[in-house]
Amino acid sequence: MSDLIASNVDMTFTMPSGEQVHALKDVSFTLKEGELLSVLGPSGCGKTTLLNLIAGFLRPTGGNFELNGAEIDGPGVERGMVFQQGALFEWLTVAENVDFGLRMKKSPKAVNKKKVDEWLEIVGLQGFGDTPTYQLSGGMQQRVALARCLINDPDVILMDEPLGALDALTREKMQSLVLKIWKETGKTIMIITHSVEEALLLGERLFVMAPRPGRLHKEYKLPFAEWGLQQDLRDVKKHDEFGRVREEILTMIWNMEEEIMGKSA
């Protein structure tokens, strides 16, 4: 029942100058419970707009989203979000950050503490509870952001280029962590990224979006996430099939970019 359904979503921004920007056009899809979806596309194709709509920060100008049979109207705790820069509260410690959602719900402190410890262990930050977040590295900050989101037990996890700001090594570790969490919790996860490799690794399904107006261009069903759970991510990347799909998508996006350049020239 807890599928995420987008039906004919349309989003048009009106600029202060009166100019209309068509960010999304007629987007429809169904994301089943426990699916791992990655969304890829050239810049300006409306990826982040799509995510903000699902999160409820924006209201679509046409169509609607449904989750658990109810229309999405405003932000909600059942749709957890992880941002590119973590968006941690730097005045709080790691534990207090992870604890944030529970405190807002006013759940009992003793229960919170136990949950926080559990989640810090899952994301590999045990012992860092009292550390101020600004003393953590970028990768550790993203682990805190993951734990802070997951502790609320959301139905859907929305990730907006969560690993974009990390270095290559940390990034790979974090990709494994995301896969592990997906497997262990069985959550529906939607990841937005501009890295083709990451989209392939972290997506059972993959949407490639096209710009002007933003729309779903092509959908892939991919085996790599499942593989990634069993073997090393680097081995997955070496696979011929992985290389073939990567080249196909890269060419597709390259052509889109060319088209945009041609249009604007």
Binding site: N52, A55, G56, F57, P75, G76, V77, R79, G80, M81, F83, Q84, Q85, A87, L88, F89, E90, W91, F100, G101, M104, K105, P132, T133, Y134, A145, R148, C149, N152
Partner: protein, 632 residues
């Protein structure tokens, strides 16, 4: 030099001066050595190079103290406690000969006669050009111009040695001889038994330099001083005789009378001509002074004065360099009643005097205007309750206040009892509370700041989040904020009174605007992703405000408080100067009216230290509360 360190204060200051010099030299040497041995970054512009260096702090402090001791003449007074008195006697001689010396080019560039001739010639030339214009007709010119020519001839005639009357020459020679006689007397440096006894008496009974009033005691306490004091009255007499000598002779006086008659004959019915007549008369009155002499006639007096000056310098001896080196930036002048320090010795108070005055003011039993600077006072608790509890609470109690009965007795009921409590009218224990000028100033700042924060921060946050609030309140705040707080002061103090209310309201206005703007900047600067995150984590609006926007604005708010304290402090002092009966600004203002430089400097130092204290506290608070600032 034998009288070095006469008083304990002198010993202390002298020792301090020497210790400071040694400290300064040590710190410089230490710093130079360190710079040589330390492995340093070769690159110019690396800010790391400015770190540390406490020996330079030591040398900076030592330099400031040395400069203060030196320019305030405190060091000079410690090392040469009699120099003030001796220089006072010299000053008496100097001021006695000033009327004579200004006639000659000693301190001036030109002989006074030269200056006068120059000035009068210029003015006669201007007058001639005015007369010789189309403002007068030919007949008038024919009447006025010859008078002008004769005035000029009369003036220049004074410069000719032939025109000088023999009596004048004799009088000037007599003056020169009298000056010479004084010089001989000064050179001989002999004192009578009486004068020696007077010196001994003054030495025994008169207070020292800076140890009473007047600051520099008048009677000579050394023989050297007494020699100068002895000749001063005679020189004063010679000076007054000298200025009476005029360059006049019968022919000159005759011509003056003739010109006077002709000028009086100028018709007064026509305005232009009568105006010129007045001007010609003015010139005549200047010239008939006879203040211009041929240079040769004055030469003997000039020579005698120069000689006297030589003798004076010779007799001053070591005082010459004490005067010029140990007492910089001014000198000691002899007035009509007493000698006084002039220049930096006057307006820069001596550290030792400043400390003594501060010790006197700090004594709570003396204080300033019967109010201590800072002290603890026993105050009944009731008074504070009365201050804190508003009186109108009693009005809310049902019923009526009791009225007096026919015997004049006043009963009590609940309402009147509540009123008694609200007005603080009940017996209670006394508790110690701080009091005094400094405390009053601090409390005013803190009260203004308190109201500024509790009203300004919420409004600022609201303005950062709501278009309505921003648009509505922005004009109000932006219209009153740019006005300098002191420009508001006369109005606010008139409306709210010169007591604490007015000042606190003024400070509230200052702090309020700053707090609104900083809280607003803080709220506006919240990253959207943090707001989004907290929404996704299930926070309500109030929770986001309380847990995200407020902490995120804290750096700006605390910076705002820090700025507010600084501005409030400055405004308060000025407001206290305008009106009031307590406070550090009030003390300084009264001291200003009395030209009491020591108290002025003490208040300046107190204000500086308190400002520094406030700032240090705020820095500490900032470091403790927002170590995460700028690291999000």
């Amino acid at each position: 030099m034998s009288e070095i360190f006469q008083s304990p204060r002198g010993i202390f200051i002298g020792a301090l001066f020497i210790v400071l010099i040694i400290t300064l030299l040590w710190a410089i040497r230490f710093g130079r050595r360190l710079a040589k041995t330390e492995v340093t970054d070769l690159v110019f512009g690396n800010p790391q190079k400015a770190m540390g260096g406490y020996h330079w702090v030591v040398s900076g402090v030592a330099t400031v103290l040395l400069l203060w001791l030196y320019f305030s003449w405190d060091a000079a007074r410690a090392f040469f406690p009699n120099a003030g008195n001796e220089l006072c006697q010299v000053a008496k001689v100097e001021s006695a000969v000033i009327p004579m010396r200004t006639t000659f080019p000693f301190e001036e560039r030109l002989l006074r006669g030269t200056t006068l001739l120059n000035r009068d010639a210029t003015q006669l030339e201007i007058l001639r050009n005015q007369i010789d214009s189309d403002r007068t007709d030919d007949a008038q010119k024919a009447q006025l111009l010859p008078i002008l020519e004769r005035l000029k001839a009369l003036q220049t005639g004074l410069a000719s040695p032939e025109s000088v009357a023999p009596e004048t020459v004799t009088a000037l020679e007599a003056i020169a001889a009298r000056v010479d006689a004084v010089a001989v007397k000064l050179d001989a440096a002999e004192l009578s038994e009486e004068q020696l006894a007077a010196v001994a008496d003054a030495k025994a009974n008169q207070h020292g330099w800076g140890q009473g009033s007047p600051e520099i005691p008048d009677d000579p306490v050394t023989e050297r001083g007494a020699i100068f004091a002895a000749v001063a009255p005679e020189l004063t007499q010679i000076s007054s005789d000298f200025v009476k000598v005029r360059n006049t002779n019968p022919a000159f006086l005759e011509e003056v009378a003739a010109l006077d008659a002709e000028i009086k004959a100028i018709p007064k019915d026509e305005k232009v001509v009568s105006d010129f007549g007045k001007q010609l008369n003015k010139m005549l009155k200047r010239i008939d002074d006879g203040a211009v002499f041929p240079p040769g006639v004055l030469a003997p007096v000039e020579k005698s004065l120069a000689n006297l000056h030589e003798v004076q310098l010779d007799k001053k001896g070591s005082l010459n360099w004490i005067d010029s080196i140990a007492m910089p930036g001014g000198r000691i002048l002899a007035g009509n009643t007493a000698c006084s320090e002039q220049g930096s010795g006057r307006w820069l108070p001596k550290p030792s005097d400043t400390v003594a005055t501060f010790a006197r003011l700090a004594n709570p039993n003396i204080g300033f205007k019967n109010i201590p600077l800072l002290s603890i006072k026993q105050k009944p608790l009731a008074e504070m309750v009365g201050f804190l509890v508003p009186d109108w609470i009693a009005d809310l109690v049902p019923g009526a206040y009791p009225r007096h009965d026919e015997n004049g007795n006043i009963g009590e009921n609940l309402k009147s009892k509540v009123l008694n409590i609200a007005t603080g009218n009940f017996p209670s224990v006394s508790v110690p509370v701080p009091t005094g000028h400094i405390w009053d100033s601090i409390m005013r700042v803190l009260a203004g700041l308190f109201f500024g924060i509790i009203l300004g921060v919420p409004l600022g946050l609201l303005m950062g989040l709501s278009r309505l609030a921003k648009g509505f309140f922005d004009p109000l705040i932006e219209l009153y904020r740019p006005v300098p707080p002191l420009a508001w002061a006369p109005l606010i103090l008139t409306i709210f009174g010169i007591q604490d209310d007015g000042k606190i309201f003024l400070l509230f206005m200052v702090a309020f605007a700053i707090m609104v703007i900083s809280a607003r900047t803080g709220a506006t600067g919240t990253q959207l992703s943090k707001i989004h995150a907290s929404h996704s984590l299930g926070a309500s609006r109030w929770q986001i405000l309380r847990n995200v926007i407020l902490p995120n604005s804290l750096p700006e708010i605390l910076t705002g408080i820090r700025i507010s304290i600084g501005v409030c402090w400055g405004t308060l002092v000025a407001a206290e100067m305008l009106a009031g009966t307590t406070g550090v600004g009030f003390v300084e203002n009264v001291a200003r009216k009395q030209s009491d430089y020591e108290i002025i400097w003490i208040t300046i130092i107190i204000l500086g230290l308190l400002g520094l204290l406030f700032d240090l506290i705020m820095r500490w608070v900032i470091n403790k509360t927002i170590p995460w600032r700028g690291k999000g």
